[in-house]
């Protein structure tokens, strides 16, 4: 099942500047994709078009061979989940369990079905022991897990997270990434809107860079960070592990610190 944008152009006002120009991109099942670029480059606009919060001025959005350009956000919520940068925008129920059950209730599922789905979603996000807690009093990381559980409970095939790691400590970040990997293994496609190049390089199977209103790059982290100076011109910083890897003999590409340590150990042993 493919989700794709075909030749999409977009501007917020009829006479305003183009935010996106002829963007074509598609997402495959089970991918963990980083969508990145400078602030204001149009990353969030792409995700808003995917979710149906904005309609393209030209071009189309397709899912599973169907043209869904005119479907609104509520219709697309059956297969696309969106975790906002501030997840408490959507939280108002007295317990985590009821919060997660809100989406399936909107879908008109019966009570037995809802309870089974919610239990499964809470288990998948490691929130089973917090189901009776008040969602708004949780930490930011846990609120995000509640929002992800809400998306899982709606049987989302695609999960979009807007800046999910901002304001999180190292442990919360690690837990979140582990959770996202496990969701990808189950076949969910995860799209991260992020400036965190360590996560993009170390954890994402694909990076899409948005610059000058277009898709400037679409490929692996290794291909992106092997390009000399290009990432900097798009407002991206090199991950520490990549920079350190370049200092070793043979300039190996190190997507994360663990890979760098392995390369370093090899070099040390050879010496």
């Amino acid at each position: 099942m493919n989700l794709s944008l075909h030749d999409v152009s977009f501007r917020y006002k009829d006479k305003g500047p183009d935010i996106l120009e002829h963007v074509t991109v598609s997402f495959q099942q089970g991918e963990l994709v980083a969508l990145t670029g400078r602030n204001g480059s149009g990353k969030t606009t792409i995700t808003r078009i995917i979710t149906g919060l904005e309609k393209p001025k030209s071009g189309s959005v397709e899912w599973d061979g169907k043209d869904i350009t005119m479907w609104d956000a509520a219709e697309r919520s059956r297969f696309i989940g969106y975790v906002f940068q501030q997840p408490d925008r959507q939280m108002f129920m007295p317990t985590v369990r009821e919060e997660v059950a809100f989406g399936p209730r909107q879908q008109g599922k019966n009570e037995a079905e809802i309870q089974a789905i919610v239990t499964e979603a809470l288990k998948a996000t490691d929130l089973a022991d917090r189901e009776t807690e008040y969602p708004r009093s949780l930490s930011r990381g846990d609120k995000q897990r509640v929002a992800i559980a809400s998306a899982i409970a709606m049987s989302s095939k695609y999960l979009i997270l807007d800046e999910p790691t901002s304001g999180q400590d190292g442990r919360e970040k690690k837990n979140l990434i582990e959770l996202l990997h496990s969701l990808c293994q189950k076949g969910m496609t995860v799209i991260l809107v992020t400036h965190d190049m360590d996560i993009a390089a170390g954890d994402c199977s694909r990076i899409i860079v948005v610059a000058d209103h277009k898709i400037a790059f679409d490929g692996t982290a290794e291909a992106l960070f092997s390009q000399d100076r290009k990432p900097e011109s798009w407002g991206l910083t090199y991950p520490v592990s990549v920079v350190l890897g370049r200092t070793l003999p043979g300039n190996p590409y190190c997507g994360d610190i663990e890979t760098f340590m392995e390369c370093y150990e090899k070099v040390r042993r050879n010496q």
Binding site: T51, D72, S77, F84, D88, R89, F102
Partner: protein, 227 residues
């Protein structure tokens, strides 16, 4: 007039409200309404405030209809609707052409309203656009969870609660952090000063004289000609 100091605009706005209360013939109230619309147009506010004027017109029509349905005459219905329009239109001009910090300064320095109350008033006005933006964001977040606000009015209201509840909770949290932020920056100190100069000039005194003359004229018209 949009360049006048806030005190002048406040006096002008209050005067138009007095004129609207004194006049009681639909034709005089209609004339006042045209005058106020002209002020809005000449100050360049008509385009910006068009939506608000449109909503006010709807509300005036509703008020007139209620008056008529409650046993009033057609004349009294026109009067109720037009009076409401006349009393509120100039507030759009006042708020659209005055910086909120100037308004606060004027309320405190010239009208001698305690700073806390003046600040509360202008802060609540400042939060209206933020509140609308937050409302949009929460509605979008809930739409992404499958919320559709459709159906009859009761269904719409009950579904809209899913937007209103998080909106209220977030607004409360926000007011708490704002209170903290104000305290941390010495809000309520006795020796507060204002950067803004809101002292009236020549043109302000001219407008004030105009307001006083028209108010006297309107009262005379009412008593001698039943306007």
């Amino acid at each position: 007039m949009s360049r006048n100091v806030p005190l002048t605009k406040i006096i002008f706005t209050l005067c138009t409200a007095v004129w609207a209360l004194v006049l009681h013939q639909p034709l005089s109230l209609l004339a006042l309404c045209f005058f106020e619309l002209m002020v809005l147009a000449l100050s360049g506010q008509m385009k910006k405030q068009f939506r608000a004027v449109f909503i006010l017109s709807g509300f005036a029509a509703f008020l007139g209809a209620v008056q008529y349905a409650g046993g009033g005459t057609l004349d009294s219905a026109y009067t109720a609707g037009l009076r409401m329009m006349d009393m509120t239109l100039m507030f759009l001009f006042l708020l659209g052409t005055t910086r909120l910090q100037d308004l606060t300064a004027s309320m405190v320095k010239q009208l001698k309203i305690p700073y806390e109350y003046a600040f509360m008033f202008t802060a609540s006005l400042r939060f209206v656009p933020d509140f609308l933006e937050e409302n949009r964001a929460v509605a979008e977040a809930q739409a992404c969870r499958g919320l559709v606000i459709k159906g009859n009015i009761f269904k719409k209201i009950s579904r809209y609660l899913a937007v209103v509840q998080p909106l209220m909770l977030r607004s409360l949290a926000r007011s708490e952090s704002m209170a903290l932020s104000l305290e941390l920056r010495g809000f309520g100190g006795k020796h507060r000063t204002f950067m803004e100069s809101v002292a009236p000039g020549k043109s302000d005194y001219l407008v004030m004289i105009f307001c006083a003359a028209v108010t006297a004229g309107v009262i005379a018209l009412r008593f001698f000609y039943q306007a």
